[in-house]
Amino acid sequence: MVDLTRRDFGGLMAAGAAALAATPAFAQGSNISFMSFSFAEDPNKPLVQKVLDDFKAQSGISVEAVGSAWGDVQKNLLLRQRSKTLPTTAQLSERWLPALATLPEIVDLDQAIGRAKLEAAMDPAVLAMGQVGGKTLAIPLITGSIGMIANKEVLDKAGVGVPKTLAEFRAALVAIRDKVPNSVPFAAVTKNPSAIPLDFMIMVWTHGGRIIDESGKVLINSDAGRAAMAFMAGLMKDRLIAPELDRPDSRRLFAQGASGFYIDAPQARTFARSFSGKGEAADAFVLPIPTPVLKAGDTPRSIQWGHLVCAFKGPGMEGPDSAGVKWLNYLLSDAVQGGFAPALSALPVTKSAQKLPVVQNDPFFKAWAQATGVPLTNEIGIWSNGPELSSILSEEVQAALLGQKTSDAAVASMQSRMEASMAKRG
C-alpha cells in the first residue's frame, strides 16, 4: 500500500479542487444569460443568435444563450430556482407568467426599466401581457394571436373553399379525408397537455361557452361546453382529427401538405417555410383564416398570444445600468423589433417598430390581423394554478376523444376537478 500521510491526502484533494476550478465550467464566462426556447428551435436559432451577436457588437456585453425546449422551460426554471441557478433572463410564453410571478426572484421591471418608459414604448394591451397584479414582471418580445391556418394547396386538392361555419368546416374536413390520402384533415393537438387547452378553448368559445370566467368561476359544464366536446369527439370518431398529435407534428403535417387546417400562432409561416423545404415559396399556401363560427354572423375566435422576457434577481440585474437591463432595453429596440419579430412571422411589440415598412408592407401580417380579429385572453393561463388546470383539461379532452368517457361525463368531470383545483388555490 502507498504510504500516504494526511498531509499528502489533503494536498491531493486541494490539487484536485484547483484542477476542477480551472476547468471551463468553473471559469467566469458570459456576463449574463438568456434561457430561450426559440434558441432550441432549429428554424429560429439563427435569428436568436443574430440578436445576441448584434447586442455584443453594440454593447460589448456577451449574453450566454441557454436553449431549452418549449415544453421544458417552466420545469427548468423551477429546478434552477430550487438550486439557486436561475438565468439572468428567460423567454416565456405569455400564459406562463402568472405561475412564474410567484417566484420571489422575479424582477419588477417597472422599477428596473421604468414604468413610464415601458408605457411610452408599447400599447397598454400589449404591455398587459407582461403584467401580473399591476406590476410589469416581463417585457413583451413578440405579439400576435393564436388562430386557424389553412393549407391552400390541400383545400384546392380537396376541391373546397375556406369554410365560414362549423358545418362548412366539417364538410371540408370530410372532403380532405376522402380526397387527400393519408392526411389528417384538421391537425388538432391531441397529445401535449400544454397545447391541447388552446385548441379546445377556441372550440368552446366558438360554441358560445367559457371555461373559467375572470372571477375564477369554472363554467365549462354548460350546453356550449358539452357541445364543443361532442364536436371534437365527433371529429375524432370520423377520423377528421388524429390521436397522438403534438403541435410540432401538426406543423410538419401542415407544411408537408398532409393537413388542411391547424391552430397556431403567426409563427406558422416560419415553420411552414422550414418544414416544407420550400422557404419563402411556402408562403403561397399558408392562409390565415377566421376560425369557423357556429352560425353566420358570430365573431371568429382567437387567443391572445405572445412571447415575453422576464428577469431574475442576481448578478447582471443589480440596477438600471446593469447588463441585464441593457439587454432588456435592447430587445425593445427597433433593431430587434423590426428584425427578429417579423423574421419570426410575429408582430413587434413596440409602437415604433409596428410602423416600420417591414411590418406595414408584409401582406401576411395584414391577412393574419384581418383573419383573427380581436383575440381573447387565455382563460387557463392567467391563473397561478394554470399548469394543473391544463393537465385536468387535457386529460378530460383526451378521455372524450378516445372514447373512454362520454363527452358529457368528461365535461362534468372537468368541471368538478377544476373547481377543486381553484378551491385549493384559494
Binding site: 500516504l4 412564474l100 420571489p104 390521436p243 397522438e244 399548469p387 394543473e388 373512454q404
Partner: protein, 312 residues
C-alpha cells in the same frame, strides 16, 4: 514495523518519538478511511441529502403558490388517499410490474433454454441477443414508438398491407394498446439480462442428471418441472426480485413512449411523481408520493438484500 514492544513489559513502547501511534496496520486503516471520504461525500451529496430533503418536503406544502414550504403534517398523504387518479397509479403500477416481470422471466428463461442447446451459430446468436440490452433505453423507446406509430408505424403498415385492418390504428391511444406497448418494450430490452442469469444457472446444471432423466423417459416438460426449475430456483428468486424492483423504478421508456397516457393508462408511480413535480409543480405532493413509491420497493429490496447476505 514502525512500532515494537519490549518483551516482558506491560505496555508497548515506541522506539521513536516519530513512530506512528498504533503501528502500521492502524495507519493503513486511517488512510483507508480517508480514501472512503470521497465515496461517502458523494453518497451524502447525491443520495442521502436528496432523500432526507424529499422526506422533509413530503410534510410540507411546496408548490408554485408557496415557494417557501409550509409544514402541513400528513396532509399530502391524506390528499393522496383521497385522489382516485393517484390510487389508480398504484393499480397501473401493479399491472405493469406484474406483466413486465412475468413476461421477461418466462421469455428470458425460454430464450436461455434455447441458447443452452448445441447448434451452429449459437455464439453469434448469444452475442446478438445482447443488443437490446446495450441500446440506450430512450433509443429503444423511439424504435418501438415508430413501430406502434399510428401514421407511419411498421405494425400498421403490415396489418393494413395484409388486409387485417382497413386503416391505421392508433395503438398508443388506447388503454390496452398503450399498456401492451410499454410492457413489450420493457420485456424486449430486459430479456438479455434475465437470459444471461438463467444461462449462467443452466451452465451449472449436471448434464448427467438430464441424460439419466431422459433414459428414464422424462419428456421436455417433465425435465423442466422436475430438474431444471428446481436447479434454477435460487436464480429465479433473484431474477424475479430484481425484475420487480427494476420495473417498479422504471420511467424512461414509458415516458418516451406514452408520457403516461393516453389519459392515465400508463401512468405508473414514477410517471405520476414526475407529473406532480414538473407538470403541476406540486413538490410536496410529489415528495409524499415518492416516499410511498419507495415504500412499495422496500419489501423487494429487503428480500433481495437478505438473500444476498445469506448467500455471502
Amino acid at each position: 514495523m514502525t512500532m515494537t514492544s519490549v518483551e516482558g513489559s506491560a505496555a508497548p513502547m515506541r522506539v521513536s518519538a516519530h513512530a506512528r501511534k498504533g503501528g502500521l496496520k492502524a495507519h493503513e486503516r486511517r488512510v483507508g478511511r480517508l480514501f472512503l471520504l470521497p465515496a461517502l461525500a458523494a453518497f451524502t451529496l447525491v443520495i442521502l441529502f436528496p432523500f432526507l430533503r424529499a422526506l422533509a418536503v413530503a410534510f410540507t406544502r411546496s408548490d408554485l403558490q408557496t415557494p417557501e414550504p409550509i409544514f402541513v403534517g400528513l396532509a399530502n398523504f391524506r390528499a393522496i388517499l383521497a385522489t382516485p387518479e393517484i390510487i389508480g397509479a398504484f393499480v397501473t403500477t401493479a399491472v405493469y410490474v406484474g406483466l413486465a416481470t412475468a413476461g421477461t422471466v418466462v421469455l428470458g428463461l425460454g430464450w436461455a433454454l434455447i441458447l443452452n442447446q448445441s447448434f451452429r451459430g449459437r455464439a453469434v446468436l448469444r452475442a446478438v441477443t445482447l443488443i437490446p440490452w446495450v441500446l440506450p433505453s430512450t433509443v429503444t423507446a423511439f424504435v418501438w414508438g415508430w413501430i406502434f406509430n399510428s401514421r407511419f408505424g411498421v405494425l400498421n403498415a403490415a396489418l393494413v398491407g395484409v388486409g387485417a385492418i382497413p386503416y391505421p390504428t392508433a395503438w398508443l391511444s388506447t388503454t390496452g394498446g398503450a399498456m401492451t406497448a410499454v410492457v413489450i418494450t420493457k420485456i424486449w430490452f430486459s430479456i438479455p439480462l434475465f437470459m444471461s442469469f438463467f444461462l449462467a444457472g443452466l451452465q451449472s446444471l449436471d448434464r448427467e442428471q438430464i441424460d439419466a432423466a431422459r433414459v428414464d423417459g422424462a419428456g421436455n416438460f417433465a425435465l423442466l418441472r422436475d430438474h431444471i426449475l428446481p436447479h434454477l430456483r435460487p436464480v429465479l428468486l433473484v431474477v424475479i426480485v430484481l425484475g420487480v424492483i427494476g420495473n417498479l423504478q422504471h420511467f424512461d421508456t414509458i415516458f418516451a413512449l406514452t408520457g403516461g397516457g393516453p389519459v392515465r393508462a400508463t401512468s405508473v408511480l414514477s410517471i405520476e411523481v414526475y407529473r406532480r413535480a414538473f407538470d403541476q409543480w406540486d413538490l410536496g405532493m410529489a415528495s409524499a408520493l415518492g416516499l410511498l413509491w419507495v415504500a412499495t420497493i422496500m419489501p423487494a429490496a429487503y428480500f433481495y438484500l437478505r438473500h444476498l447476505l445469506k448467500g455471502a
